[in-house]
Amino acid sequence: MIKAVLVMNTQGKPRLSKFYEFQPVEKQQEAIRNVFSVLCSRPEHVSNFVDAESFFGPDSRLVYKHFATLYFVFIFDSSENELAILDLIQVMTLIGVIGYQLVSVLSVLEAVNFWLKTVFVETLDKCFRNVCELDIVFNYSKMHTILDEIILGGQVLETSSTEVMKAIDEISKCALFPIWFLTCRLEASSNAINLVPKSVSGWRSR
C-alpha cells in the first residue's frame, strides 16, 4: 500500500502532498521536512531508496526520483515493488509534465517495449527541464486529478499512461460541461479547451 506521495522542489518547498492515511497537518509538514533533509544530502547518481522507517514507522520504504528541480517521493510498505514504483513515478511525471497533447504519441509508445519508454522519458525530461516545476506549481488541481486516477486509497489502479490521460481529459471536460458525460458529441468542438488556461495572451487573442 502506498502511504504518501510528495512532490517538493530542491529548496524543500512542497509542491504537492497527498497522504493516504490521515495525518494532522503539522505531522505532514514535519514529514516533508524530514524527507527533504535526507534527500538534499544525497548526491546525484546514487540509488533512489532511502531508509524511511525513522519517519514513517516500521515497514515503510521511500523511493524518490529527482527531475530537474523537483523531487518526486513515494512512501509505501512491503506490498509494493520498489522498481515498479519507480516506473510509476516516471509515468506520473510524464503525464503531469507533458500534458495530454502527447496522448497519441504515448499510445504508440505503449506498444513499444518498456526499455524504449524509459529512454523516452529521460529525453523528455531533458527537454522540459526548465518548465517542469512551474507546470506542477500551476497545475495543482490537475496533478491531484492525475494522482487520483493512478492511486486510490493507497492502491495503484492504473499503470498505463494512456488510460490515465483519457480519464483526465474526460474529467476536465466534465468539469466544464456538466452534461458532457451524456453528450459526447461536444468532444469534437471542444478540443481547444484546456483545463488550465495556458496564458493571458492566449485568452485575449481569442
Binding site: 509538514q29 520498489e82 519507480l86 468539469a175
Partner: protein, 1031 residues
Amino acid sequence: MDEESPTKVGLNTEKAQEWSPLVSWRSFVRGSAKLVLNLSGIESVREAEAEAEAEAGVAMAGSSIMENLFQRTLEDLIKGMRLQLIGESTFISKATEEIRREIKSTDHHTKSTALQKLAYLSAVHGVDMSWACFHVVEVMSSPRFAHKRIGYHAASQSFHQDTPVLLLITNQLRKDLSSANHFEVSLALECLSRIATPDLARDLTPELFNLLSTARVFVRKKAIAVVLRLFDNYPDAVRVCFKRLVENLESSDPQLVIAVIGVFCELAAKDPRSYLPLAPEFYRILVDSKNNWVLIKVLKVFAKLAPLEPRLGKRIVEPVCDNMRRSGAKSLVFECVRTVLTCLSGYESAVKLAVEKVKELVVDQDPNLRYLGLHALSVAVPEHLWAVLENKEAVIKSLSDEDSNIKIESLRLLMAMVSESHVVDISRVLLNYALKSDPEFCNEILGSILTTCGRNVYEIVDDFDWYVSLLGEMATIPNCQKGEEIETQLVDIGMRVRDARMQLVQVGRDLLIDPALLGNVHLHRILCAAAWVAGEYVEVAANPFELMDALLQPRTNLLPPSIRAVYINAAFKILIFCLDCYLLQNEGSTSLDSGNLAGGQSELFCVKDDTEAAELATREGSNYEQDVGFNPKNTAESSEDHSAENDIDRVASHDQTLAHPTLLAKKKFMHESIVNLLNRIELIFGPLIANQNVDVLERAQNMLSLVQLIKEEIIDNSFQNVDKKDTRVSAIIKLMRDAFTMELGPVSTSAQGRVAVPDGLVLKENLGDLQAICGDVELPSSSSLSTGGPHLATTSDASSNLLKNEESGTLNESTSLIEHRKRHGLYYLPSEKSEIVTDEYPPANDPKSNSNINDEASELVKLTEQSFLPKKRTNQTKPRPVVVKLDDGDVAPISVKRPESRDDSLSGAIKDVLLGSETGPSMSQSNPSDKSSRKQKEKKKPNTNVQSEMKENVVDAEKPDSENPNSSSKNHGHTRDRRHRGKEKIVEGEEHDQRGKKKSGHRHGRRKTHQRAKSPLNVVSQTPVIPDFLL
C-alpha cells in the same frame, strides 16, 4: 479555458490583475473590470447588475457577484505567493483571512474557489483547515461537478475519524455513489477511500455492493479498491461483498485485475491463511497475466501463501522461474528473485537461477539495481550463505561505493559472512575503512563489528586478547560514537572471560592514560568502563601506580560527575590493593619462611614492580617536593619525608641481614611510593569535598578519611619495628581487600523473576507511574557496577600469565609513561616553569589520509580470497578461553503477541464467506472431511466472537500439533543450543545446572501456553480445509 461558462466573467478581472501591482490591485481591478465589462458588451442580466452596481459606486461587500468578480483564484494565489512582495508567512495569513471571509459567501462559485485555495494552502503550506469542515460539506453538495470536485478533494484531505460533520455526509455520499455520472461516483469513491469510518462503511455497503458489478469499468475498479477500506472498518461487509470481489478476480479486464489483485495483496499481508482457498485463482493469474504490475502483486500474494502450504511451492516454482527467465522488466525479475529467496528457498534450481540473476544485478550500472541485488542477497543469508560467498567480490567492492545505501547493505552482508576463522582479518580491514570514511558510515562499521562479535555471547571470538585490544582501538577512532556499546562489552567481557582480564586492564590503562581522550564526550562512557575494569581487576595489572596516575590526572575534571565517581571508586580499589600488597610484603619480609598464600601474591607484585618502581620513585620524588609545597599540611609531611628516609636506611640495614637484596630494595621503594601515592590522593581529592555531586563528594570524602587514617599508621610503622605492625590498619585493609576481591558475575536478565515476591508486598500491575517518578532521576548505571561484590581469589592460571607477561610489560609501560609525562607536563606538577598549557590535545588517532580506498578494497578482496576458503581451524596455540554464559538469562524472554481482535473478526468473516462460497462454481471440489468442521463454523457464524473461537481452540490445541512451525523451530533451537554449550565447555555451577533443569521444565510449560495462545490461528488454518486445488 472557462470563458464559456456563464459565471466566469470574473476571469476578466483576474487577467487584469496580472499587470497590476499586488498591493492596490483591488481598487484598480474595480475600474478595469468595469471597463472590460463595457468593452465586451455582454448582455447577461447578472453582468448588467454588476455594471449598475459598479457605476453606482456601491460595490457592496456582500454581493455575490462582486465577490465573484474580485475573488482571487487559486492561480492568482500561487502567482502572488511567487512574487513574494511581502513575506510568505504574512502572505499566507492575509490569504487565509481573505478565505475566511469569502468562504462564508452564499455564492457557490466564490465558496468553492475559496475552499480550493484553502485546500491548497493546507496541503502545501500546512495551514489548518479543520475549521472549514462545514463549508466543505456545503461545497460537496453543490450540484455542479466542478464545485463538487473541489469539495470532495477538500474532504478527503481534511476529514478524519473524529470530524464532527462526518455524520452529515452519509446521504450525500449515497446519492453520489448511485449517480449516473460516473465521474461523480468516482469522486465519492475516492473520498470514501480516505475517510471511511465504521459508520460510513456500514451505511454505504449496499451501494458499494452494487458498484462491484457495474458495467462501467472506470467505476468498478475504484469500487474494488475502496472495498479494502470497507473491510478494514466494517468486517461484516465481507459477507456481502466478498463473493463479488472474488468474481472480479476472474475478470478478463486488465484494469479490474490490477485493482482486485492489489486488494488481495493487502488482505493477504494481514492474514494469509484465510486466502489459501483462493490459490487456484491466483495461480491462473500468475500463469495467464502479461501485465507486470499484476504479476508482481500476485507474486507478493504467493510469497505470503507459500510458506503455509507446501504443495503450493511445488506448483508455482515453475511459472516463477519462467517469468524470471523471459521478462525484460527488472521490477518483475527482482520480485521473482525475492519470492524465490524468501519462500521457495527449498527448490535448488530456482534458487540457483535467482542467484544468477542477483549476480547480474549487483554488477549493474544502475545503483538502484545494485542496491536491490545486495538487498536480495541479504534476504538469502540465513538459508543460502553460499549465494553471498559467491558474490563476495562484488559485495566487498560495494563497500567503497559512493552510495551510502549500498555501503551499508554490503557491510551487513560482509558481517553475515564473518566466521571464527577470519573475524580478526575482516575486523582489521573494516577498522581501517572506518578510519577513512565519513563519521556516519564509520559508526555504522563500528556498530556492526560490535554486534557481530558480541552476538550470542561472543560466539565467534576466539582470541579475547585481540578483541579487547580491538575495542580499545575503536575507542581511539576520532569519530567513534559507540561509547555505550563499547562500555557494555568491556565490562561484560571483564565479568565473563577471566583470561581476558589482563589484556582488559592493559587496554583500560592505555585509554585512561591518554589525556586527549578525556575531552571527547562520546568516549566518556568507554573511560568509565576502563576505570571500572582497572579498579576491579587491579590484581592483574602490570603497574597499579601507573593506573593510579591515570585516574588522578587533573583533566578528569572534564568528566561528568557520574563517571568521575567511578574514577574515584576505581582509585579507591587500587589504593586498597597497593596497601594490601605493601603490608603483606612487609609481613613477608619479616617472616619470609611463613610463605602463606598471600605471600605468593605479594612476591609477584614485588618482582614485577622491581624495575620500574625505581624510576617511579625518582621521578615522583622530585614531584613530591612540590607536592609538599602546595600542601597546607606542609609541616606534617616534611617529617614524613624524613621518616621515609629513615625507613630506607632501616630497611637497608635489614636487608643485609636478611640477604634478600632485590626484594628489599624494591620494598623500600614501595614504601616511598606508597607514601607518595597517599599524598597525591590527598592533593587531588582535597578539592572534591566541595563538589556539588553527592556521589563524587561522598566517595572522595571516604577516600580522604582512609588516606589520613592510613598515613598515620604507615608513618608510625616506619619508625617502629615492622613486627608490631599488625594493627588496625592492616585489619581494615584486609577487610576491604577481601570485600573487593569478591568476583562479580554477569546477571541474567530474568534474575528478578526468580526472586519470590515477599508476602504482604503488593506490586502494582502497571509500573507506569514509577517511571514518572523516576523520570528525572539519572540512573547511576556505571556506579552500580562498582559497588563491590562477591569474591575473587587470584587464580593460579591468572597468576602464571602474570608472570609471563610482566617482564615484557614493565619496560614498555614505563617508557610510555615517561613519554606521556613529557607530553603532558601539566598534570605531573611541573618541575620546571611550565609552558602555557593549552586545552587542545592532539587528536587521539590521526587517520591516514594518503591511502587509497580502492587499494584497500582490492586488499580486502585478496584477504577474503584466502580467508573465505573453508579453512579448518588450524591447531590453535591457545585454546578459546572460558566464557561464562548463563543458562537462560542472556536472551530476553519473547513476549507472546496475540493477533489483533479486528483481524480475527475480519478473517473469521472471510473464512465464513469462503466456506460458503466453496459450493459456488469458482471453487474446485471440496474435501468431504471438512463437512463437520464447516458445520461447526456455521453454528458459530452469527457471532464472530473471538472468545468463543478460543475456547474451542484450546481443545484442539491439546492434540499434538506438529505443523506449528513456531514450536518446532523453537525446540530445535533449544537442542542445538545445548549441544553448542556442551562443546564449548561453558562454566556452569552445579546450582546452575539444577536451575537449568528446573528452568527447562518451566520453559516447557511456557511453550505449551505459547502454543495455546497461538492456537487460534492454527485452528483457523485447519478448520477451513483447503481444497485440493492444485491436483
